[in-house]
Amino acid sequence: MESVKFAVNGTERSLEVEPRTLLVHALRDELRLTGTNIGCDSSSCGACTVLVDGQSAKSCTMFAVQADGADITTIEGVADADGKMHPMQQAFHEHHALQCGYCTPGMVMAAISLVEEYPELDDHSVRHGLEGNLCRCTGYQNIVNAVLAVAGSGSATPIRPYQSGQGE
């Protein structure tokens, strides 16, 4: 067994893991942070995306030991302490960017990383930038709209504008 120590959503966590333990299993099974999903289990779908030191990473394609000393953010850690959604979560909500929601945690984490990394995004570059995240439901258009809204391009209109402000 190996000891690993990392910060998860701002809290120091220590674990004893087998070296072959994947980060996603450490998060889900050891730390019970089950917001991070497993989809393809083979590095292709992005459902397991988390931030490692601020950058998107597929947690099914990292050993937990590789994250020793790192700063990890999962979907559980993006909203404010008082429960106010992260702007990306809010945009997904407003633009109806999810249906079954299975891809959503990974999609939101990838999108947060994307707008940080690429200051100038347009429709094409959002699609290219989210290539590693599969969604079987939405057809992607509303996801692209949500990301563009956060990226501040101003070019995206929610498809159901009458909804904005509802439920607040």
Binding site: E2, E18, S42, S43, G46, S56, A57, E117, G132
Partner: protein
């Protein structure tokens, strides 16, 4: 899918990594970004009993330039190549090819040394490095040696590296000539079904996924040097090659793609 068990060692320096490799023989493997090795271990196509993690060797993450030569540390990640202002200025092909590898999450973890050592004929950066005529610096128990990219790829997923050698640096000449990279695939985020890299206005041309290794298209280079048009030079791109047949394309279709994309790449690189 859970990989087979292994012992985990953290390398404190390249020398330490090399000595751990020498201690454990061919049972051990280096772990860099893990974005080729971990998928292979999960499918149990690889089952090393010792992993030597070189991913923490931040002193091998750099892109420097001196006297017209750009030196890149082996642990430099694809995303660091992609966003490098130095490369954008002095070797834009490398930055642009890096930006086409996988998706952002893959580029945040995958390293230049890892993709070269993995020697996948379908990978992008090995072909770029080949077209650019790069030099690969390998460190072993006896010190460093330089390997020309043209001598580096020796077979299907095989390189000229010995079991106890580690890539520490890649050197390329600053490149001002016309360049282009064509990557043909059907599925976003995927490897190239066929790819073509053209460097230095056609003086360096290489092909992706057209054989057991990334290939230098020397017939095309010779035709360009003799003044052939892009169309005429591209016509010989697939001569004598035995590309693979798989679910995506059979060998004949790959030959066709190689000619088409070589012509496009040559034209985009400024060959008339």
């Amino acid at each position: 899918m859970i990989p087979a068990s292994f012992d985990y060692e953290v390398a404190e320096s390249a020398e330490h990594a090399v000595s751990l490799l020498a201690d454990h023989g061919d049972e051990a493997k280096l772990l860099a970004g893990g974005h080729s090795l971990i998928p292979m271990m999960r499918f149990r196509l690889a089952a090393p009993t010792v992993l030597v993690d070189v991913g923490r060797l931040d002193d091998l993450r750099y892109i420097n330039s001196a006297n017209g030569t750009i030196s890149i540390g082996a642990l430099t990640r694809h995303s660091e190549l992609e966003h490098s202002a130095l490369l954008a200025e002095s070797c834009p092909m490398l930055a642009s090819v890096a930006a086409l590898v996988g998706d952002p999450a893959v580029r945040h973890r995958g390293t230049l040394g890892g993709t070269l050592a993995h020697s996948d004929p379908a990978s992008d950066l090995p072909a770029a490095v080949l077209a650019l005529g790069a030099t690969i610096v390998a460190r072993g128990p006896g010190g460093d040696r330089e390997i020309a990219a043209t001598d580096f790829f020796t077979g299907y997923f095989e390189s000229a590296l010995a079991d106890d050698e580690m890539i520490v640096e890649v050197r390329v000449a600053a490149s001002a000539g016309g360049w282009n990279y064509q990557k043909f695939n059907r599925r976003a985020q995927d490897w190239a079904i066929v790819g073509v890299a053209v460097a230095e206005g056609g003086a360096g041309v290489s092909l992706v996924n057209m054989g057991a290794t990334p290939l230098r298209a020397s017939a095309v280079e010779a035709a360009v040097a003799a003044g052939a048009s892009a169309g005429d030079a591209a016509a010989v791109a697939a001569d004598g090659l035995q590309p693979p047949t798989d679910l995506n394309a059979d060998a004949d279709y790959r030959r066709h793609l190689a000619r088409v994309f070589t012509q496009r790449a040559l034209k985009a690189a400024g060959v008339a």
